[in-house]
């Protein structure tokens, strides 16, 4: 079977479901995406950006967009002691009964609804940042996405509570492609928490987020990936930062079978701050690939990146972080770090930090380390009575902590820390 027909067959999975009508600019964007799908091929290991992540396994399978019969929200999906504006999606379908908006004047709705209303911001921004003309998974999402979350924060406004998006995958052979858009007008502030949950069914999810962050605005996006163990998940978060803006994101991966996280940030204004952190705690045959790209288009900005990998079983981690400093982007401070601990002989990490600097007056550094558990420290802790599992757990938590410190919402931070603690018990030996 040739790859072309494999591609057509795979895309046909999504043809079965009619997509919502697109109007005006949205129609153009969608047509561009369909055009790209005709022209582009799915990546293979020969593509530099996909060198370690093989998607052929996903393409061979059949998936279907399926609704669940009795949608319910598990207590387990909620973050303890945190009040949020909650949007729940199950298999990509919005669940109004399970959702709750507590900030009364918050402009929040589904992208489907916003599109239906021909909302200005959706018309103007959805697809404005994404590379759907050249990147096939983004094109796939842009062509077939049904809905997602849309939040627009008006000038100098800040919701009292964070927005919490819960995406749940249930059932066998399920697919869906959420599309979220966040627009922060000048001086606006927004915290978004996105948790991904799932059962043990085989599934394919393809998520795209866009963040438009205007002057003086502050956005944070914290993602907790507790995908089901047979979930294949590909996502791209596309961010645009105007001057004096701040963006911080943390991606914390606990579940999933094959996960590819792309974070692309265009820093297109002076005096911006960008923080991108992440931690992945892997086990079994999990494969998690974090690709980040920070594009410093303007001078006088700061970016910090810190990813921590803890890899057990026969799992594989990939880290590829690129920072680009354009020729006139002087006085950039960019720091990048990826540290990993391999818990077993079969665990694997492919780490590639990249700095590409065309300006001469900058302060940039990057580093990557990979090692094993410190045996001497383990013995020390055990000699004080801690079990091996307890000692390793304590050390893994300490190792991951640095990547979690950036979370400014205290109950969320504590929750992520507790998930790390739980995960430690699962991933050892």
């Amino acid at each position: 079977m040739s790859t072309t027909s494999k591609k057509d067959k795979f895309i046909a999975n999504f043809m079965k479901n009619p997509v919502a009508d697109a109007i005006g600019q949205q129609q153009t964007v969608r047509e561009e995406a369909f055009q790209a799908l005709r022209e582009l091929e799915f990546p293979t290991l020969k593509d530099e950006a996909w060198k370690y992540t093989r998607v052929a396994g996903i393409l061979n399978k059949e998936f279907e967009v399926k609704e669940v019969e009795n949608p319910a929200l598990s207590e387990n999906y909620l973050i303890p002691d945190l009040k949020v504006n909650r949007l729940v999606f199950i298999n990509g379908k919005f669940q109004s009964e399970l959702s709750e908006i507590i900030d009364s004047d918050l402009d929040i709705k589904t992208t489907a609804q916003a599109r239906f209303e021909n909302h200005d911001a959706v018309g103007g921004y959805l697809g404005s940042l994404t590379n759907h003309k050249n990147e096939i998974f983004t094109a796939l999402n842009t062509a077939f996405n049904q809905t997602g979350a849309f939040v627009q924060i008006q000038k100098n406004k800040k919701p009292q509570f964070p927005v919490h998006i819960i995406d749940v995958t249930e059932g066998e052979g399920v697919t869906y492609q959420p599309r979220n858009l966040f627009v922060l007008e000048e001086g606006a502030e927004l915290d978004v928490i996105h948790t991904i949950e799932g059962d043990n069914g085989q599934s394919f999810t393809n998520l795209v987020n866009e963040f438009v962050i205007k002057e003086n605005a502050k956005a944070s996006y914290y993602q907790v990936q507790r995908n089901g163990e047979k979930n294949n998940h590909i996502q791209t978060t596309q961010v645009y930062q105007a001057q004096n803006s701040r963006f911080r994101t943390g991606t914390y991966t606990f579940g999933g079978k094959l996960i590819r996280n792309n974070v692309n940030i265009a820093v297109d204004g002076e005096n911006c701050e960008t923080i991108l952190n992440g931690a992945f705690l892997l086990n079994g045959k999990q494969h998690v690939d974090n690709h980040t790209f920070v594009d410093h288009l303007q001078p006088h900005c700061e970016s910090h990146e810190n990813y921590k990998g803890i890899i057990g079983g026969k799992a594989t981690g990939v880290f590829n972080g690129k920072v680009l400093v354009r020729p006139d982007s002087q006085k950039i401070n960019a720091f990048q770090s990826n540290q990993n601990i391999l818990l077993t002989e079969q665990a694997e990490i492919n780490s590639k930090p990249e700095l590409e600097i065309y300006a001469d007056d900058v302060k940039c550094s990057h580093g990557s380390t990979t090692g094993q558990m410190d045996e001497e420290a383990l013995f020390y802790l055990m000699s004080r009575g801690l079990t091996k599992a307890g000692a390793m757990g304590l050390m893994i938590q300490a190792f991951a902590a640095e990547s979690i410190e950036i979370v400014e919402i205290e109950p969320l931070k504590q929750w992520i820390e507790s998930l790390v603690e739980e995960r430690c018990k699962e991933i050892q030996d």
Binding site: Y380, M382, M395, A398, E402
Partner: protein
């Protein structure tokens, strides 16, 4: 309490302990002295369960249990404690969190309930005062950025918190100034009871001015070559170790 018979241990095929015997009873303090390379630290490591060493022969009973069959944490659970010669720095792991887990792990091993937060804090305060570390451990990682003296005090502090039946102090005096040495010794002396015991491994006699042993053993080439009362330490200080090697009448 502790009974070691004909213990032989190797590291990477080099035999370090070559048939060591030792009996320690409750209430006793034993000092083990000896030249560098005689096997003092190996003995401490083997007793605590460090994996690098292979026990090739012999038997170690600790309160009737076969010590060598137990994991390091189980040995701690049975009441064994090793004060490390080189305490390990563990960045990111908080002293308090670690100690609490240590206490609770040992309690769990013994089938006891976890310590109440209030009781834990009270104990921390009390024992910190004992070793002169008051307020210097909170919000810091285990041994990270500690001076040599602080690390050793922290070992004694942990010992006081865990209240072991048998504590082995592996060259706790090395690298300490006289004030720190006194503090460490005071700590040990205050913890001394009829039902616990100490093995003090040291290179120098001066610690034994402050921690007075019941028995002094001389370890040489992997065996105990002489045992005697506390005065033996003074004799060693004066004459060095060489005279023992020439002494035909070595007794174990």
């Amino acid at each position: 309490m502790l009974s070691i018979k004909n213990l032989k241990a190797s590291i990477e095929d080099t035999e370090i302990l070559k048939g060591l015997d030792l009996e320690v009873k409750p209430g006793e303090i034993h000092a083990i002295m000896g030249p560098n390379g005689s096997g003092k630290s190996t003995l401490a490591s083997v007793l605590a369960g460090r994996e690098d060493y292979e026990v090739t022969e012999g038997d170690v009973k600790f309160n009737g249990k076969d010590l060598l069959d137990l994991e390091p944490n189980e040995r701690a659970g049975e009441g064994l404690f090793l004060a490390f010669q080189y305490p390990v720095e563990i960045p990111g792991v908080s002293n308090m969190n670690f100690l609490k887990q240590a206490i609770n792990s040992i309690r769990e091993y013994k089938g006891e309930d976890a310590i109440a937060a209030k009781e834990f804090l009270k104990k921390v305060k009390e024992k910190q005062d004992l070793v002169g570390l008051s307020g210097r451990l909170a919000n810091r990682s285990v041994n990270e950025g500690f001076s040599g003296g602080e690390k050793k005090r922290n070992e004694i502090f942990q010992m006081a918190m865990l209240d072991p039946k048998l504590a082995i102090l592996d060259e706790t005096d090395s690298g300490l100034d006289i004030d720190a040495l006194k503090t460490v010794a005071d700590g040990v002396n205050q913890l001394r009871r009829k039902d616990n015991a100490f093995i003090v491994i040291t290179h120098y006699q001066r610690l034994l001015d402050y921690i007075v042993p019941d028995v002094v053993h001389v370890l040489s080439e992997g065996k105990i070559v002489k045992s005697g009362p506390k005065e033996l330490a003074l004799e060693l200080e004066e004459k060095g170790y060489d005279w023992l090697k020439e002494d035909e009448g070595v007794n174990a």
